[in-house]
Symmetry: C2
Subunit: 354 residues, 2 copies
């Protein structure tokens, strides 16, 4: 039976990517060695790293605009610290739109003063705050483009008078926007890009080198840039799989092409949530995420029936996060429209049954 | 043609491990999903993580002795920083035995005073300093058990009056010693344990929580311990492959069994280096590493011939590090005695030819 994988992350990857990744573990590039056992300084792997770095910039339309792409380790949680270490001198402004934004604020506060520019915490993050002002004299503004747990997504980004930093872990490469508005973008790979273990950082070089503190080498973006993202042994396999996924996306037509599919998938699912009286969406409509749809059953008595039907239909990874409850359907780039239709069919069947 | 992989890291892994890892990328545990696309909170992966953590302690004889094993990200370079952040209050003592020790000293110096207890830098690190005293009033003592670049290895460890921290990246699980002498052991996976992207940290819990600084969550050993090494998404695939390698080692008879093989391999290669007049060892004999043998050609004119012969024999990864030159044969756990014999045969043939 085909499994429809709605996991929030680590999450679904294209079958073709998985096939190539599996082959590379046995015999990489027909070199007779596994990708896992070759030197990261070998030409074969240096080519992978360079290709991955270039593809990331190319897919976001950031080539030749003063940006560098890095593949680091430690996930978004490490970036919460690195952003502050590299950019925070006196004060920074953060938009608090969910658990991860909140964690970013908490970690950066160790280093200096953090100002919460706006927050939707009082409504358990079911919307994106708007109409805030970003102070001109702060070091940077930080936001989270998509909130995996709550199913909200920033549909527009402010014109920031100061460097704008964005955690795009859960919607990188999923939609078109003017990425040159951002000065630093980071994203854990394990949602829309690849397996866990790699973190993409895209940084505009001219914002670096302006803080007075000493930064440990492994946490210094400048050090990673000057070493071509090979200051130390990179997470070889994860970077390779990210490269394969980006190649897959490029072949599909890039971010513009996948955006259309993602919009279609979201439309199909949210229509069902809105039309089916058994379900209720969690996020306010205008801020609904195209990546993670959060919803609950209006009547909890149907829980067991619904979940048995989901299982029978091969639908996996639909449990909501404990902070929200209910269900969360993550519809990352590699999830097909067919999988969304399979879910909608079960929801609609439940209505017939109930 | 069989390739004899002497790469210094990422490096050779057991064929059986690579086969299982390759399968898991397509279909993990016969669950119909790739290991790369399941939640790290799924029972299947939580079991992998727990198994890996337990195996690490078991293989080192550290079960039930107050230690916790963690699988983190960022390699030894990140541990240089984390060790200092978690343990350094006033002053620490470091043994400087090579490039990596030297980097560990440099990074820790950002946080506080570091004292170089002894160093072999003046001899380009071709020996391990001995006869030093570890001050009783320091926070901890740091050493590097094996120096990959220079081919030296600590054959004995001091009785330290203060917590002893050791970077075992390149000889973890390769030999028997009393590991309970150490309070913190760390090792990048990509040499004797698995693919790049995971870092094993084994820490005695009672040395933690004694510094006054605020530690970022992602760099706080206590946070990782209380989250079962799942504070954030772990490097799933790398941890799984580490688990497979540890299972392979346990089945072979554990560290004691592999130590015998490693000693045999080292004996065979060093005998050839010493008996063959065309070659010269780099490290002083008593400190020679059983993991990385460094040697040079006495007569550089033979370089081309030797390297062609190596290539023809399928011997790869033998280039020495630029700080030493010549050759480096890395003989990690997964390298067979046959591969060492193949190398020795070429060295011996060269003598016949020359």
């Amino acid at each position: 039976m085909k499994i429809h994988n709605f996991s929030a992350g680590p999450s679904i990857l294209p079958q073709d990517v998985l096939k190539k990744a599996s082959e590379a573990v046995l015999n990489f590039n027909n070199e007779g060695l596994s990708l896992l056992e070759i030197s990261h300084r070998s030409k074969s792997f240096v080519d992978v790293m360079e290709n991955a770095r270039n593809l990331a910039l190319e897919l976001l339309g950031l080539e030749g605009k003063g940006y560098k792409a890095l593949f680091l380790q430690g996930g978004a949680s490490m970036q919460f610290v690195m952003v502050a270490l590299n950019l925070l001198e006196k004060r920074a402004g953060y938009l608090n739109t969910g658990t991860w934004s909140n964690n970013a604020i908490k970690e950066a506060s160790i280093y200096d003063d953090i100002y919460e520019i706006a927050s939707s915490k009082e409504a358990n993050y079911n919307y994106i705050p708007k109409g805030y002002t970003i102070p001109e004299d702060y070091d940077y503004f930080h936001c989270t483009s998509n909130n995996t747990i709550f199913g909200t997504q920033m549909k527009a980004f402010p014109d920031s008078p100061i460097p704008m930093v964005c955690d795009m872990s859960s919607d990188i490469f999923s939609r078109v926007t003017d990425f040159s508005k951002f000065d630093l973008i980071y994203a854990g790979a394990q949602k829309n890009m690849g397996p866990a273990g790699a973190t993409l950082v895209i940084v505009k070089e001219d914002i670096l080198g302006k803080v007075s503190r000493k930064i440990p080498s492994i946490m210094d973006y400048k050090v990673h840039i000057s070493n071509g993202s090979m200051f130390n042994t990179p997470p070889v396999f994860s970077v390779y799989v990210c490269m394969l996924t980006m190649e897959w996306l490029k072949k599909l037509g890039g971010v513009k092409a996948i955006e259309e599919v993602n919009e279609m998938k979201a439309r199909v699912l949210y229509s069902e949530i809105d039309l089916n009286p058994l379900f209720k969406g969690y996020a306010v409509k205008e801020d609904r995420s195209n990546m993670n749809a959060t919803f609950t059953l209006v009547n909890d008595n149907l829980k067991e029936t619904f979940e048995t039907m989901l299982k029978d239909a091969g639908i996996s990874g639909l449990a909501g996060h404990r902070s929200v409850g209910g269900y969360r359907a993550s519809m990352y780039n590699a999830l097909s429209l067919d999988s969304v239709k399979a879910l909608v069919e079960v929801m609609s069947e439940l209505e017939t049954k109930a």
